[in-house]
């Protein structure tokens, strides 16, 4: 099964950043019924219905049950090419076999689905179809059922064929006895002109002789008996074909009334099969289906980026986060994981839009019908727009209520003074909207805004260190990569005196001259 996002949904750049291909590969099962799945974002009603449906099935089925259902679903033949022929009443004999195979496997699935039946009314239709096919076919649906008369006709044909074969063998023997010539297949045969047997060959009534250059072409001259057998064979064949064609037509007519119900059921079966795949993957990897609220907020418990988790394993710190309606601001030191937080949120939202289970312990939110992200950009030459221009354009769009707007390093695209001013204005504006705005920032001015939910990335706990950190690798390993809400005013003020970038810079292999100057400035700040 090839699983991919609709092309217009996410840019290739974002998909690569978030390693979404890796995540989608978990769903690529070998199920003929669904050879491919194109995922696209769903509108609210569709999304809510989808998760409600799959969540209900998930709650009703045991683990071993789900595995059985997926295994059984693998045996379902794909009937997409057959359905239009069914609608036109043009099913052939082998189509009946294929259709019957589907009905049989679906019947087995229905038995396994007692706790969560797919479509009881639709199932009844399938049972009737199966009964009809059983009546009109034979030998496990592999042949068209024959009356005694039809069977006799077929026997007569076979008998005739045997007689004919015997007759031809008899001719071969007769010709050989008369001429010494082995007239076995193929014919005509070539023989050299100067042959002792040439007189005998010419005299034989069962062969024709034609001279071509230096060879003779010898061909059969079938006698009346053989011609008669051929004619009789043709006649019986025609009769048999007519009878079988009429039977097939009749079966097509009798099956047709079931077509619409069957076609609907078939689509439901495909949807349900996909649901089983989602549930199987969800359980195998301990993912979760989101729960939805009517309030405009979002709670994520132990969420993570699949690609990051695969690489870092136990070192990957899952995200615990609560986003409130309005403006949510994440402030933190460089390399503390702010952008990863933003990407994790966006990744989870995008996957939920497409009806997928997400890597998290729990997610509760209002349905993300509209999600928009602004990552750090260097502008767009094609569109003749700078990074700043892109960012301002981003905020020029109309956004509906309930939207999720995510921005990384708000207005880093311009000078710090004006960037801070614009950030304050934008954040203030979003703080009054009926949506969730989330941004990361370095601008300390923003920290002082009243009507925002402020969060920060935790610093390295000094108590956890036995000695001073001396290089960047060690710094990364000690970083907690957790965020916390900042509610206390003292804590807010402390953010205004942030020296972290200077301290982090000292961990890099800069020249000693530069490091001395940084230290001088740090000491000056400490004294202030």
């Amino acid at each position: 099964m090839n699983v991919e996002f609709e092309r217009s949904f996410l840019s290739q750049h974002i998909k690569e950043e978030l390693e979404l291909e890796e995540y989608l590969s978990l769903f690529q099962k070998n199920i003929p019924l669904i050879p491919s799945k194109i995922l696209k974002p769903m509108k609210k009603k569709e999304g809510l219905d989808r998760f409600e449906r799959v969540g209900k099935i998930d709650s009703l089925l045991e683990d071993s049950h789900i595995n059985q259902l997926v295994e059984c679903s693998r045996q379902l033949p794909r009937l997409d090419a057959l359905l239009p022929l069914y609608d036109l009443g043009r099913l052939e004999q082998y189509h009946l076999f294929e259709l019957s195979s589907f009905l049989a496997v679906d019947g087995s699935l229905a038995l396994l689905e007692e706790e969560a039946p797919l479509d009881p009314a639709g199932q009844k239709v399938l049972v009737e179809m199966q009964a009809l096919l059983k009546e009109r076919t034979g030998n496990q649906f592999s042949v068209i059922a024959k009356t005694d008369k039809d069977t006799q006709l077929l026997k007569a044909l076979n008998k005739l064929e045997s007689e004919r074969t015997e007759k031809v063998s008899g001719y071969e023997k007769h010709i050989f006895d008369q001429t010494g010539l082995k007239m076995i297949y193929p014919w005509p045969k070539e023989i050299a002109v100067a042959r002792e047997s040439s007189k005998k060959i010419k005299a034989c009534s069962l062969v024709t002789v034609e001279q071509k250059k230096d060879v003779w072409l010898i061909d059969y001259r079938p006698d009346k008996e053989l011609l008669s057998l051929n004619q009789e064979r043709d006649r019986l064949t025609q009769e048999f074909e007519t009878i079988m064609s009429e039977k097939l037509q009749g079966l097509n007519s009798d099956l047709h009334p079931y077509f619409k119900s069957f076609a609907k059921y078939y689509e439901k079966r495909k949807e349900r099969t996909w649901d089983y795949v989602l549930i199987e993957v969800k359980r195998k990897y301990n993912f979760t289906f989101p729960l939805f609220t009517t309030s405009t907020d979002c709670r994520i418990k132990k969420g993570y980026l699949w690609g990051l988790h695969k690489r870092k394993k136990e070192k990957c710190i899952p995200l615990d986060l609560e986003l409130a309606k309005g403006a949510n601001v994440l402030y933190g030191a460089n390399m503390s994981g702010k952008t990863t937080v933003l990407k994790t949120i966006f990744s989870l939202l995008s996957l939920i839009q497409c009806g997928l289970p997400v890597p998290a312990e729990a997610v509760t939110m209002n349905y993300p019908e509209y999600v928009s992200i602004m990552l750090k950009s260097s502008g767009n030459i094609k569109q003749d727009i700078s990074a700043f221009g892109e960012e301002v354009t981003f905020f020029s769009r109309e956004t509906p209520d309930g939207a999720y707007i995510l921005v990384d390093e708000l207005f880093l695209s311009t000078d710090p003074v004006n960037g801070a001013t614009l950030s304050e204005i934008i954040i203030d504006d979003f703080s009054q909207k009926e949506m969730i705005f989330f941004c990361t920032t370095h601008y300390t001015d923003v920290v002082s805004l009243d009507n925002i939910t402020l969060m920060r990335m935790e610093d390295i706990d000094p108590a956890s260190l036995s000695r001073k950190i001396t290089d960047i690798t060690e710094f990364r390993e000690k970083m907690p990569y957790r965020l916390e809400h900042v509610t206390d005013s003292d804590d807010r003020r402390a953010l205004l005196h942030n020296k972290k970038p200077l301290e982090i810079a000292l961990l890099f292999p800069l020249s000693s001259t530069i490091k001395e100057k940084i230290l001088t400035r740090l000491n000056k700040k400490n004294n202030e």
């Binding site: 050879p35 491919s36 082998y94 193929p186």
Partner: protein, 326 residues
Amino acid sequence: MKTYCFIGTDKNAGKTTALKFIYQNMCIESSPSSICLTSIGINGEESDQYDGRGKPPIRLIKDSYFITQGDHLKSHTGKYATLRIFSNPEYSGNYIFGKCLCSFPVILEGPNIGHEVAAMKKSIQDFHDVATLLIDGSVDRQFLAHPAISDMFYFAMLISERKQQQVKARDFLYSLSIPQCEEWMRVWIQREKKDTTRSLLFNENGKLVYHGKTMPFCDRKLQKKCVEMIDTPGVLYLRGALTHSLQEMLSSYNYFSIVLDNFTLYLNVSTQPGKRKRFEPGLYLLYPVNVKTLFIKQESDFDRALLPENVPVINLFRREYHECRI
């Protein structure tokens, strides 16, 4: 289950005639129910090159098995039992594996792709009474030469007055005589060979000098590496046609051993008669040709000394032929 593949050097070489002949004799000597027939798919050429006919039907005998596209069974309702369907997405077409309930003529059209043929073979082996699979093949389907697909070959060869066709026949007979490579060459090659491999160049110590993933005749890097080794021993494995340009280039590599993956790689080249340089390197096959019988259709005289030794040769269209042991 044994698989016998029928290959013709030309469109009118008598391949299908040979198939029918062998099929009929097998039905007499063993039983129709032990035989399954199929054909390599139509390669975009619906009609015969020389006389405009379509793919000819083959008259199947009651109780034989077959594999063909569903479309070819439309007028044969009731004459067969459907046993298995090979369809999308695992297969590129809609192939029906069936058993004949009576004798009837049908166009056989099986898959065109190596792994599909291999998968079908594995699948029908469940039916234990199928002892023999006969495949009506084509010389340009290189996958047929793989031992996983074919156990032995029946070849049909046309001998005519046309110069181009004579060169083809000569090359074909020569390809049947190319020996299998030595065991140590085989070990080197199997060690490095992957599905995507098109060429491998080893030095005399078995060290891999180059691993090519593009067709050898247009692989500039391969050709450059070969030039660097022109005066030193080496083994060059090719899984692409030994084209005239490649032959020209390699003809003076005295110290090289060229190992073709299979004999078809010697055949799929232009047959313009012309002067050819003497080919100095040793030429071998990784997978040898197991020839069951050579069927010839003779429209002009030819040197019978060119025929391979120890291979039955039959001209079905003439009065005298060697007995064919099936």
